[in-house]
Symmetry: C2
Subunit: 343 residues, 2 copies
């Protein structure tokens, strides 16, 4: 019997539980813990977890995989609290939206013999909390995995299988790459969305603006409705990258402002039309980044994998596989990038 | 028999035709014209118009209401071409996204005895062209009306009724107000959306960015897929206002950047949480701007109005009503704004 412990049962933790339930795993027990007993009770009632552990210690005790799905700044404290209670060879993963800090905390705090694999399911919505959880949240979404240096290959494979089991598509990055990419396509839109809404809202003309605002304004400011704690933690733990992309964004806005104010209306048209064509191309054939490397067979179901794991993981046979997997994955990325640049 | 002529049968003109058809008007003929005969044929086939006029002149000849639904920069040329062929007391309206230039062109070009009422249905989507037209496009959307100084009250009422007939909610503004509000809630998001997409697209990491990009990035860059000609014309005819709001947007982004880089994480949290609460309040109870003024009974159907019009409009009895309507509308806005500020 494999025990999966989900710590934090909000949107991500709750949805993961529901997606695991949908996968109808056998031979696997899903236990949950949340600081808020009402949230835990709700997850239990919704079937996202099979039992609610009364304490964090009991949740992680004898657990095979521990998924830390709390707000980012709480991850560190959870690591500190669970560290003494983890069994040897336990696999710890997280779901935080920024990764460099979390990887550092894991290395500092988690004991030797515990395998940490950072994770970030690229899924979410502006509604947060357990009531927003849904089993299909991760379907078809990228799930970024970042193995720590001490994670065995079996542990990496276990988290990869977990991601696939909940419907996501695992992909490998390193923490710095992840954080700069996430800043560009997720955290920058968050700031840009907040800025647009707060600018309009602070205007004396707000009654008229709000009345005239259509779907464009609503879509564009949707991210400003996200959970404040999440945005706050993202900005604090990815500050340098967010500020970097904000700078570049302001420069791009100023480039467009110059085009708009210039008398070269043809250049303006060309810039608009190019952007439009590029976006259409993006929608019709989004860039694909292939993982995992070839030759690595993955069991489709977590439970069959779990049965293997009891025998396999404990022997640590697989740290070479990880290195190989990572090396191959990086190699393929490099080739892919070179190929694209030549196109 | 009242004749409505729609000039330009793309998304807006085509949708207006379909919405008029849905209203099952009697005693009314809807004629269309498009420079592209294939577009006209498509509109005819879809039932958006009852007949396609072979020339612009034939389309507007003996028409009661002429709706100019072409790209903004073409409106001027259409005015020039139709001016000699308009019957006395014809009502001309347009659907352009910016209004100050259009109001100027109407005053310069349209002959005396023709009533111009500027219009802007605040509806649209990123798909353009006649194939994107739909009868429900205007349902529940604000439809800004800007009577020219020479427009009779009956003409204003006719365009107001037209807007209601297609499902929209007419509202009165002056052209300068309209253009600055539209710059804030519609044209600024357009630039912001383009800038985010082009920034990500130009990055060497684009394959990874595009692969990781989720619904947030897609929603936020949706406007960058808009028709290039429309964006171009908007920027050229509303340059000052767009640049003004872009400046303010950059300043707001810099304010947020300072909050993110400061060590006062509580102030950062407060700013995020306030914006989130304000947006929730906006979604649950958007500001309402009431028009028309009280005491003005509007016929619910364009056809009953059209029958009245033959007798009424021609007598020009109603220019006082317009002035009254506008004055009352402005008075109510003023009161409303004062009331809100005191809250």
């Amino acid at each position: 019997m494999a025990k999966i412990a989900i710590i934090g049962l909000g949107l991500i933790g709750g949805s993961m539980g529901l997606a695991l339930k949908r996968a109808k795993l056998t031979n696997t027990e899903v236990v949950g813990f949340d600081r808020d007993p009402q949230v835990a009770a709700r997850a239990l009632k919704a079937g996202a977890i099979q039992s609610a552990a009364p304490t964090l210690q009991q949740a992680v005790s004898r657990a095979t995989i521990i998924v830390v799905a709390t707000p980012i700044l709480s991850v560190r404290k959870v690591f500190e609290e669970i560290a003494p209670h983890l069994q040897r060879n336990a696999i710890v993963t997280d779901t935080a939206s920024t990764k460099q800090e979390v990887m550092r905390w894991a290395q500092e705090i988690l004991p030797e013999g515990v395998h940490f694999v950072g994770g970030h399911p690229m899924a979410g919505k502006e509604k947060s909390g357990p009531q927003a959880a849904e089993e299909s949240l991760f379907d078809g979404r990228p799930y970024v995995l970042i193995p720590s240096v001490s994670a065995g290959g079996g542990a990496v494979q276990a988290v990869q299988t977990l991601a696939q089991t909940i419907g996501a598509e695992p992909t490998f990055l390193d923490a710095a790459e992840h954080d700069t990419y996430a800043a560009a396509i997720s955290h920058l839109p968050l700031v840009a969305s907040m800025a647009l809404f707060s600018l309009a809202r602070a205007s004396l003309a707000w009654p008229e603006l709000g009345n005239m605002a259509g779907p464009a304004f609503r879509d564009f400011t949707r991210l400003a409705s996200g959970e404040p704690e999440m945005s706050h933690d993202i900005f604090l733990t990815n500050r340098v990258e967010v500020l970097h992309w904000l700078d570049r964004y302001v420069a791009e806005l100023q480039r467009l402002a110059e085009l708009i104010s210039s008398d070269d209306s043809e250049a303006l048209f060309r810039a608009i039309a190019e952007t439009q064509m590029d976006r259409e191309a993006f929608l019709s054939s989004p860039p694909v980044r292939e993982t995992p490397g070839p030759g690595l067979e993955l069991p489709g179901q977590l439970d069959s994998f779990m049965s293997q794991m009891a025998g396999v993981l404990w022997q640590q046979r697989a740290s070479e596989i990880t290195q190989d997997l990572e090396e191959r994955s990086r190699q393929r990325q490099r080739e892919e990038r070179l190929r694209r640049r030549e196109d």
